[in-house]
Amino acid sequence: MDSREKILDKYSSKVYKNRKEHVITIEEGEPNVIQADTRAIPGIMTNRGCCYAGCKGVVLSPLKDVAIITHGPIGCGYYTWGTRRHKAKGDENTQSFGEYCFSTDMQETDIVFGGEKKLKKAIKEVVEIFKPNCIMICSTCPVGLIGDDIHAVAAEAEELYGIKILAFSCEGYKGVSQSGGHHIANNGLMRSVIGTGDAEPMKYSVNLLGEYNIGGDGWETERVLKRIGYNVVSVMTGDGSYAELKNAHTADLNLVQCHRSINYIAEMMKTKYGIDWIKVNFIGLDGIKKSLRDMALFFNDPDLIARTEAVIADEEEEIAEGMAHYKTRLEGKTAAIYVGGSRTHHYINLLKTLGVEVVLAGYEFGHRDDYEGRDVLPSIKRDADSKNVESITVEKDPENFKSILTPERLEELNNAGVHLEEYNGLWSDINDNTVVTDDYNHFETEEFLKLLKPDIFFSGIKDKFLIQKSGVPSRQLHSYDYAGPYAGFRGALNFAKDITMAIYTPAWNLVEAPWKNTPTLEGSLGGTE
């Protein structure tokens, strides 16, 4: 039995039947198929969160100039207050609400008699105290159940106060994970924000999509992009803002970092505004270099291409010595990596560069296309759960639609290996024989730790300490353990330094008490003296 079978074997027949499709071993030459984005099994300790977490917590919260009101009991707003590390900085023209948590703190009477009145009052109070340009309302489980019409409240308040007010029905029970919430947030931003600004288009302009500026990743990426000469119109949504997002439609190219959480906007902007998107990866040197070179080829300006090469050479030179040093400490180590819906893929090449082999990988809430690539999309059937998450379609906007590329240029790009609107998923970078687990759970984590004994395990806070207590170093790749940035060239060096630290910190050698392997009684064996 291989390790996959050993683990599945311990499940009851019902659970086995479900999980065997989610846990696979990558086989050479096979079309590896995995089941994903389906319901978690009740009672199984999944690491997944909910729709609200994906909508409010992930996509919307980083928009710094938006006052987000959580409509519901206090918990949901409280847990998403300041806990995700999407760094943001305001200035004299931009309010920054990152340090604030707004909630309607619903009480029993609101549940019984409806919460719309309280929500209206809360909006009024936010407007009076803070005078924001934009308010977003996010609903939690009971709101949907009692039937509060948050969209009507938002529309009425928008009229009344003359500011943008959006509502998101992202009740926790919708969909099967955070992923449904990403989609709902994408829909709202596309429908009501993107395209409402009137900024002049800029040269070499891009949007950075699915970059949440965790630990300053977005800032590091932007630094490199600006060095080359790009104009970043908006970042979705790390250190982003309502003000910038309105003008996103003026960009020439969309760069998609986190495919899972933002691909809907990329697709819709292509349809509506004709803006092409490329899948980028600013984590790890191979990813950064390919991304920057793809971008330069897209714009096809010799100066830009030359500057790209110069910046790559310069940035790489800066970290070369450090990277080489850490590689000597990390070469030959093995890793397990379980994060989100795109991040696992992003780190595989960086780990390879450092000589670390990934033996176990997976996503918490990825879809099949995040594993197998977008070619699989037409064959994914929508089920009852995915149908509960709204999917919107957009029309071409004749006024703002642009086609930058001629068919000839498109073909040239294709031949040069720059594939627009394409993502090949985790499979494109994963080694054969790697065990891949979708929606991994506590039991599987524990068992795989015993069977595969990775030298380091990348995941999140809920399993971090169980992993460490098992004797395996663990780093959180959602929050970077309060460090970072890990994006860009400098970020790669930070990452190398941090995982070296995690593996080599001296306390690991002291875990076992000396008396555990030293006899208590001292003396000599009878008769040998």
Binding site: R39, P73, G75, G172, Y173, A384
Partner: protein
């Protein structure tokens, strides 16, 4: 930092800004983690369970296990019975706890799931137990959820067999494992046999050994919870947290109870020790007298650095009241006492404390938030802040030192291992408070005023 907070206060009746409370289920989860080999189970959407596990893990820096009924839209419409049934089977199959402690969420409460019925219908393996409590998130706070879960255990398990066990039942309040260890130590020194529920020591501060154990050694055992019904007396520490279950145990099993403040500070610890003394009839041993004497020595030696210093304290109601007591014993003025947990009794108790020390001009408020506290401070500042992590923004914005005490502390280490209760805990608090104030003096003074000896 918090630049958008205006100094001028305005009336708010609907909007909560920067809360000092969270919802019931996380309290229930914490209480259930204090029962040995127990799987806390969240009956709702899996996001609640994830948030709560995340939050407890961030505070304790230790794994917080819990499972979820993983509701989808279907379950929200048709009820969560099938989900709970599946969950119970899977939890016993895969994680093999001795007991599952189910708590509800605003989702399952709003649709009116009948937990008693579901649990009666569930297939529970021989010798295993499932209990539940109702924890609607739209009532009370995490403190309410904590005592509801304790009460749930008692409701299902405690029984009076007619034979007394000569033990003291202790409800420790919403405190850290380090505090629970200290309470146990004091009871042991006093020769008191006890049953403490919950007991998260040895669970949420379990040692690193190199091998992970899902159910560490700590936690109140099921047999001890059953035996609670045979105790002579209950001590409910922290009236606003522990009286509810104590009252329930009295009703169910005729165990009389006495409530005391959390043993934070000199007099509160005195009251605890006296109660133990009264219960055991054993004299207070020198060991405890020595600790108390050391504490008094420290408070007197250092009084000039704390006397008349003003402090704002925020957090859970019983913790804030306890901290108010010790700060007043140190000669400080607890200018603002705020808790997010609703309940006017907090304000009444604070008033009694102010009167006891003859202090005027202090304000206490329940169902308050940090935004309001910040506005008060903007209008009339304090020398020190005491509370959990979320006050760090206010501390930075107003350049006030912060001593981290209570729940949650998600930005520091070690705090959950060490007590704030008992004389030892008071010594620790004195050190934390003195260091904060004296470091501040060292930082702020002119070069020529820098004191080598203090």
């Amino acid at each position: 930092m918090l630049d958008l907070t205006p100094k001028e206060q305005s009336e708010r009746s609907a909007l909560r800004i920067n809360p000092i409370k969270t919802c019931q289920p996380v309290g229930a989860m914490y209480a259930a983690l204090g029962v040995h080999a127990c799987m806390p189970h969240s009956h709702g959407s899996q996001g609640c369970c994830s948030f709560h596990r995340m939050f407890l893990t961030r505070h304790f820096k230790d794994p917080a296990i819990a499972s979820s009924s993983s509701f989808t839209e279907g379950a929200s419409v048709f009820g969560g019975g099938a989900n709970l049934k599946t969950a119970i089977k899977n939890i016993f199959d895969i994680y093999d706890p001795e007991i599952i402690a189910v708590h509800t969420t605003c989702l399952s409460e709003t649709i009116g799931d009948d937990l008693v019925g579901y649990i009666n219908d569930a297939k529970i393996p021989e010798g295993k137990i499932v209990v539940h409590t109702n924890t609607p998130s739209y009532v009370g706070s995490h403190i309410t959820g904590y005592y509801n879960m304790i009460t749930g255990f008692i409701k299902y398990l405690a029984e009076a067999t007619g034979e007394k066990n000569n033990k003291l039942a202790l409800f420790p309040g919403f405190v850290n494992p380090g505090d629970m260890r200290e309470m146990k130590r004091l009871m042991t020194i006093m020769g008191v046999e006890y049953i403490m529920l919950p007991d998260t020591s040895g669970v949420m501060d379990a040692p690193m050994t190199g091998s992970y154990n899902m159910y560490p050694k700590g936690g109140t055992t099921v047999s001890d919870i059953k035996d609670l019904g045979n105790c002579e007396l209950t001590l409910a520490l922290g009236e606003l947290t522990s009286e509810f279950p104590a009252n329930f145990l009295e009703k169910k099993c005729k165990v009389p109870y006495k409530t005391l403040p959390l043993p934070i500070g000199v007099e509160n610890t005195d009251a605890f020790v006296m109660a133990l003394n009264h219960f055991s009839k054993n004299e207070v041993p020198y060991e405890i007298e020595e600790e108390r004497g050391q504490l008094m020595d420290i408070l007197l030696d250092s009084h000039q650095y704390t006397y008349n210093k003003s402090v704002a304290i925020y957090g859970d109601p019983d913790t804030v009241l306890g901290m108010a007591e010790i700060t007043m014993e140190m000669g400080m003025i607890p200018k603002y006492l705020v808790t997010g947990t609703p309940g006017k009794i907090f304000e009444e108790k604070a008033k009694i404390l102010f009167d006891k020390f003859g202090i005027e001009g202090c304000v206490a408020k329940s169902a308050a938030d940090l935004f309001e506290l910040h506005q008060w401070i903007k209008n009339d500042s304090v020398d020190l802040l005491i509370g959990g992590t979320h006050g760090k923004y206010v501390a930075r914005a107003e350049d006030i030192p912060l001593v981290r005490v209570g729940f949650p502390i998600i930005d520091r280490y070690v705090h959950s291992y060490l007590p704030i209760v008992g004389y030892k805990g008071a010594i620790r608090l004195a050190e934390l408070i003195l260091n904060a104030l004296m470091d501040r003096q060292d930082r702020d003074c002119e070069d020529e005023d820098m004191e080598m000896v203090m």
